[in-house]
Symmetry: C2
Subunit: 768 residues, 2 copies
């Protein structure tokens, strides 16, 4: 017997109980019930003498706890045993081993078997799971969770090349520019300083030729709209106020001149807009009319005698609100107003209205109020503009879609006011493409920060082992890795969207507008969710502005609102899918001709195959054909049921306006299902095209994860429809967990493939 | 025949087609297919002459569109007809009426019947839904959606009295204070100015006696902890930086002295803390250790010769981080550090360490760095503190749970290091109660702003009718009204939580800690979601800082992180529910004794009753007994399955640490289900107690909506388990829509019942 254990006030035979005693005392888990079980047990056993029993009872008495040093000695003693004997999975085995190894007691095999059996019974009666109890005594403790780590087994540059595609060189140019020291981030606290910095950044971007890149060559540009989107997307790795100011100036202001004006406007304004010599605004939204643009109340009244228009704000709530570039820098604006000829309203048209003189003073009749501090984008000088009978020359009417003769006669190639208005809006669809592409860059930044931090940050760990990177925890993986998959999905979908837009034909316009609106809504909503997860996943560090998740979240928050409120957009998308429209995407009230698609789609709905609804083979679960058919089924069934439901309500005598309102929730689901299907299709195509590439395995994993996590999000719907059974949705959940676990080791290289310049990413926690 | 229609270039008999022509041309819906159908139809009919047919064919030729003025004349003509004849539900009826009323043609009954029948056929072939087409011609257009509006049919003050309960007078006092002009909001841009304003607000709050209210009377307080929570909750209608600074000073700093110190500390510090004469910090978190507090590395080494402790930061990542009050105002701090006696580690203890002298200069050995700008709470001066061998006298050890004798011997009433540490943390549980109560106030502010704005803001409307308040739209209701129900649910749950805490017994501590942690996590997560919805629901206005949703969202965002990361907390809650713990709530690694609850809960699980799983009677759907049993079933089943799953994994040889990691997602679901059940129970009790009150009906509706929307959120799970069938989850969705619709008219009075002072609410959009 070793001397070290002498002062333990425990009879030698009671050393069998040492592991048990340690556990119940060190963690004070000995409740009334357990003490009773223990006491009864002591009474029953045959292999302790009355005095030994008395000693043991004393050691479990509530009023006689061991001292701190005593507990520590027990622990050392037990530790010494396990380290000798290695793997033991029950406290009873450990107790017997301890006695045999560290006391002078010698047991016969029969005696040992009896004691062992009794101790096991006690363990059971106390409801102890031996393996988990033994856990506390382990010293070296490598677990599966501990050992998971980043490993790069594909060519990151190859994946970057896929993502950048034929835009690689312009992307590279923009990144080079952004890495210049002039682009150091500034504190957003001082509005004026921040806005000034943002203007100077935009000037640098313009100086590099990126502002005018989409404009025709004859006006200083390169006629490359696709490059414009790539510039906006790449700039979005940096400050997003700069991106929005860039978009206002070169996109909204410049493109309104290009799309709504005619040659004289192009020649007069575009060259100066592209260089930022002429900062301007896009003044459409009014306080009382944001989503419902058709309802704007600003008027443009023609005066034939003077050949001028009078631009006027009839009341305070008809002022132009949230107008970017207005509060400080804008010198002119494209103003949307109702054209009035001979006191008759000819609908919304666009006019170029000067706001400030060369010195920056507002012109007579113009009143501009600063929108003040916002949730984000504080580097953009949004303002409220009021016009008090502001006179502009006739040639300032942007007259591509409608014009006024000198004597005041209205002329237009599009007779229908509705059609003309929505055709005009349709030319501005490019804005809807820039926003989700900018949002995706913010997603990529957020994920890069959160995933790189999660890969290094350690917290908690197995008893006695080192702490574990938080990205090894399943919940952490679940928060971030499906979003990584969604971001890749969004990337491929927006590349597809852009190509469709670049090659658009007149007859595709309605589909393209629906695609752009739906992708804008889906991706910007997802951005809000994703950045919220990133913030929380980075804990306190995620709350510090230096780590930029703050700015990414707050700057992109309004992306769900501007360029069309997401909820409104999703309803418009849905109406398109129901066939309620033909050519006029944004017409909220147009429910006139209702091509009853339900009757047509019904027959094409995939039959619910009883073999499919409960097939949980891994091969099937990871089969893109299964994913695609499940996504298509959801889309078609939702379209079908929405169409039928609206028709039934109208048939029953409900006003169509009410019927559409009753089904709003349903319609938004239609829009989402459509976009989900588009995104999956494009992701699957990208994976197929990547066959043979080093990244093919991981891209396939990501695509599977995208598909299965969308199915999981919608499992309630699939179960309700009987398209999936519970056994399968459970298998899908398990597979999502499994894929997150597998992709974890690729997560860092997957964000490195975004190739975000360090100076842009900037967050210290991404570089620990 | 009226002269006005003469220039229409349309034969008289073709006026039958005018409504149809108007629709296809005004909205350009005449595609190739429709033109073919139309042409075929013209060929077939017997009642037009060849020249009339020729005239009609010309009017649908693609190269011959009508002029704008012509279309407008058609519209006027059609309009005149409908206004005479009133309700007509098909274009064919309208066409016939128009001809009879506005031309000289006279038809025999047979002729009319034939034409009517033919036109109907054409309408069908073109797939036009007549009712929706007619819609475009309606002038006066009252719809159900248009007419919904706020009506107050209960006593709002009576509901406020229920919400405030026995805390009404202290709540009133705090509101009176907040309405003083000194509490005008400040711009958060200038950190120094903002922090100075927040300090001065806290001083005013302290001067009113609210800071010390929880402290014992002998130290200047009122010994009223419940009032302390009410103060914090009410202050949270105002600036949340002030609330957190208040919580740091009087809660964390003061309560750490009260809970961890002994009489001499109380006498020495509490009077000065309560008046804010002695601003202080609570320095627990370190850069490397946030959630895993047990791992902190700051040391407190005893020097027996000097009777002093040396407080030391061993490396930069062991600095105290995010410490409120540290960057500018804190003069002292409760510092958590590992006690070292004779080079041996005795675990984490707490010490009072002076940081600054009277003039505000940091003391020797103390280095404080400003955390800088944060996502929110910028009025709180968070800092990073490093200690370089800072010497403090022995009496600065907060010695309630452990002490050191003069000669350096460790003394403690709690022998187990684990137990002592977690008991110490347990005394600080009050912080976990203050946070969700503050969060609920932010929810109430956000909902008040968004719902009051939604009630007034109009956008879109039926054709020819006025625009509709956006709160009348179903999607808008779905975004806000279930959150209103959840906020009421949270209110009642936190009132229950507070009462449990106030009346706590030693043996309930583990349950109370689990309740507090779970409610903190559930409510703060919900706050993040809710304020995000409010932001989006208010569109661009919601993005402007003047409307405060910005600050509410960003200030509360870190509530999901501090006072315990929500994901970690939910796992601890779940482990408690699995019986994995007894007395030490926060011990992440304690998996030792696993009281296998599954065996016990199994028998008590509600049987799946085939009559219940598809019962969609309204009475049943609105029956609290159904709600409660469904919530209980989910909780018990998740506990049962998690317990079995973890046991199985460990039985199969998995390391317990890994097993718990594999089940993390499952464990978080257990925690949520537990809290959902608690919240429903308390809401149901509140509704029952409100029988006879004027608000009883609306409160019952809200409670039903709370229950059903939680069931809807979890419908995937219920369907997977076979507890609900698809027919029932669909009925639940419909009922959620219905309840949102019904509660809409009560929504404004329901937020008015929160009785938030106008000066606190402040957002201009809440007052339009």
């Amino acid at each position: 017997m070793q001397t070290s254990i002498l002062p333990l006030q425990l009879n030698e035979r009671n050393y069998f109980f040492l592991p048990l005693l340690y556990i119940v005392w060190s963690d004070t888990l000995l409740g009334e019930r357990e003490r009773q079980v223990f006491t009864d047990f002591i009474g029953r056993i045959s292999w302790l003498s009355p005095s030994e029993k008395q000693n043991l009872l004393e050691r479990i008495a509530p009023n006689n706890p061991p001292q701190r040093d005593e507990i520590e000695q027990w622990h050392q003693l037990i530790h010494a045993t396990t380290s000798t004997l290695g793997q033991l999975d029950r406290l009873s085995l450990l107790g017997v081993a301890l006695v045999k190894e560290q006391t002078d007691l010698r047991l016969t095999p029969e005696e040992e078997a009896l004691i062992q059996a009794d101790l096991e019974k006690l363990e059971q009666e106390l409801e102890i799971i031996g393996e988990s109890a033994i856990y506390l005594f382990k010293r070296e403790h490598p677990t599966i969770t501990t050992t998971q780590q980043t490993s790069v087994d594909f060519d990151v540059k190859e994946l970057t090349a896929l993502l950048d595609g034929d835009q690689a060189s312009i992307i590279k140019e923009v990144k080079n520019l952004l890495q210049r020291p002039e682009f150091d981030y500034v504190d957003p606290g001082d509005l004026k300083a921040y806005r000034t910095a943002v203007l100077s950044w935009c000037k640098l971007v313009a100086d590099a030729g990126f502002g005018s890149i989409a404009y025709p060559k004859e006006y200083g540009g390169k006629g490359d709209m696709e490059a414009y989107f790539s510039v906006m997307e790449t700039l979005s790795f940096h400050d997003l106020s700069m991106v929005i100011k860039f978009g206002v100036q070169f996109g909204l202001w410049g493109m309104s001149i290009l799309s709504l004006g005619t040659e004289s406007h192009h020649a007069k304004y575009l060259p100066k807009i592209g260089t930022l010599e002429l900062p301007g605004c896009f003044a459409m939204t009014e306080t009382n009319h944001g989503s419902n643009v058709k309802g704007i109340e600003t008027t443009a009244t023609y005066q034939a005698t003077e050949k001028t228009f009078v631009i006027h704000t009839p009341h305070a709530l008809a002022r132009k609100e949230y107008i970017g570039n207005a509060a400080m820098h804008g010198k002119m604006a494209t103003v949307f107003a109702k054209l009035v000829l001979n006191e008759k309203d000819y609908g919304v048209c666009a006019f170029v209205v000067p706001l400030r003189d060369e010195e920056g003073n507002t012109l007579p009749g113009i009143t501009i109020t600063d929108c003040g501090r916002k949730m984000g984008l504080n580097g953009v000088d949004n303002g409220v503009i009021a016009f008090d009978h502001v006179v502009i020359p006739k040639e300032n009417m942007l007259n591509r879609f409608s014009d006024v003769t000198d004597d005041g006669t209205f002329e237009t190639p599009i007779a229908s006011d509705n059609k003309r208005f929505f055709t005009m809006l349709g030319t501005l669809v490019g804005g809807r493409i820039g926003i989700p592409r900018s949002a995706l860059s913010a997603c990529k930044s957020g994920l890069s920060i959160a995933i790189r931090y999660g890969d290094k940050r350690r917290q908690f760990g197995p008893e006695g082992g080192e702490e574990v990177p938080i990205l090894n925890y399943r919940m952490h993986q679940r928060r971030l890795i499906p979003h990584l998959a969604k971001t890749y999905a969004g990337h491929f979908a927006m590349r597809y969207m852009t190509k469709r837009f670049m090659n658009r034909q007149e007859e595709e316009m309605q589909e393209i507008e629906a695609l752009a609106a739906g992708l804008k809504a889906a991706i910007t909503w997802n951005t809000t969710d994703l950045l919220q997860e990133c913030r929380e996943a980075c804990g306190g560090k995620g709350y510090l502005s230096e780590n930029r998740i703050d700015a990414l979240k707050n700057d992109t928050d309004v992306y769900t609102t501007f360029e069309g409120d997401n909820t409104v957009l999703m309803q418009l998308v849905a109406k398109t899918r129901l066939g309620a429209y033909r050519a006029q995407f944004e017409n909220m009230n147009l429910v006139t001709i209702f091509n009853y698609v339900a009757a047509r789609t019904k027959t094409s709905l995939t039959e619910k195959n009883p073999l499919i609804i409960r097939n949980i083979d891994e091969e099937h679960l990871l089969d893109p054909a299964f994913h695609l058919s499940a996504f298509e089924y959801r889309e078609k069934d939702l379209v079908d049921s929405a169409a039928k439901r609206i028709k039934r309500l109208i048939d029953e005598g409900m006003d169509p306006f009410d019927a559409f309102n009753v089904c709003q929730h349903h319609l938004v689901a239609v829009g989402k299902a459509y976009i989900d299907r588009i995104m999956l299709e494009q992701f699957v195509l990208a994976v197929e095209a990547g066959k043979g590439a080093s990244f093919h395995r991981v891209l396939k994993h990501l695509c599977d994860l995208y598909a299965l996590s969308v199915l999981e999000e919608n499992k309630g719907w699939y179960l309700e429809q009987g398209y999936l059974e519970g056994v399968k949705t459970k298998a899908i959940r398990k597979m999502v967990n499994q894929l997150c676990w597998e992709i974890r080791k690729d997560a860092v290289p997957l964000v490195l493939a975004f190739d975000i310049p360090d100076t842009c990413l900037s967050a210290p926690i991404a570089f620990i």
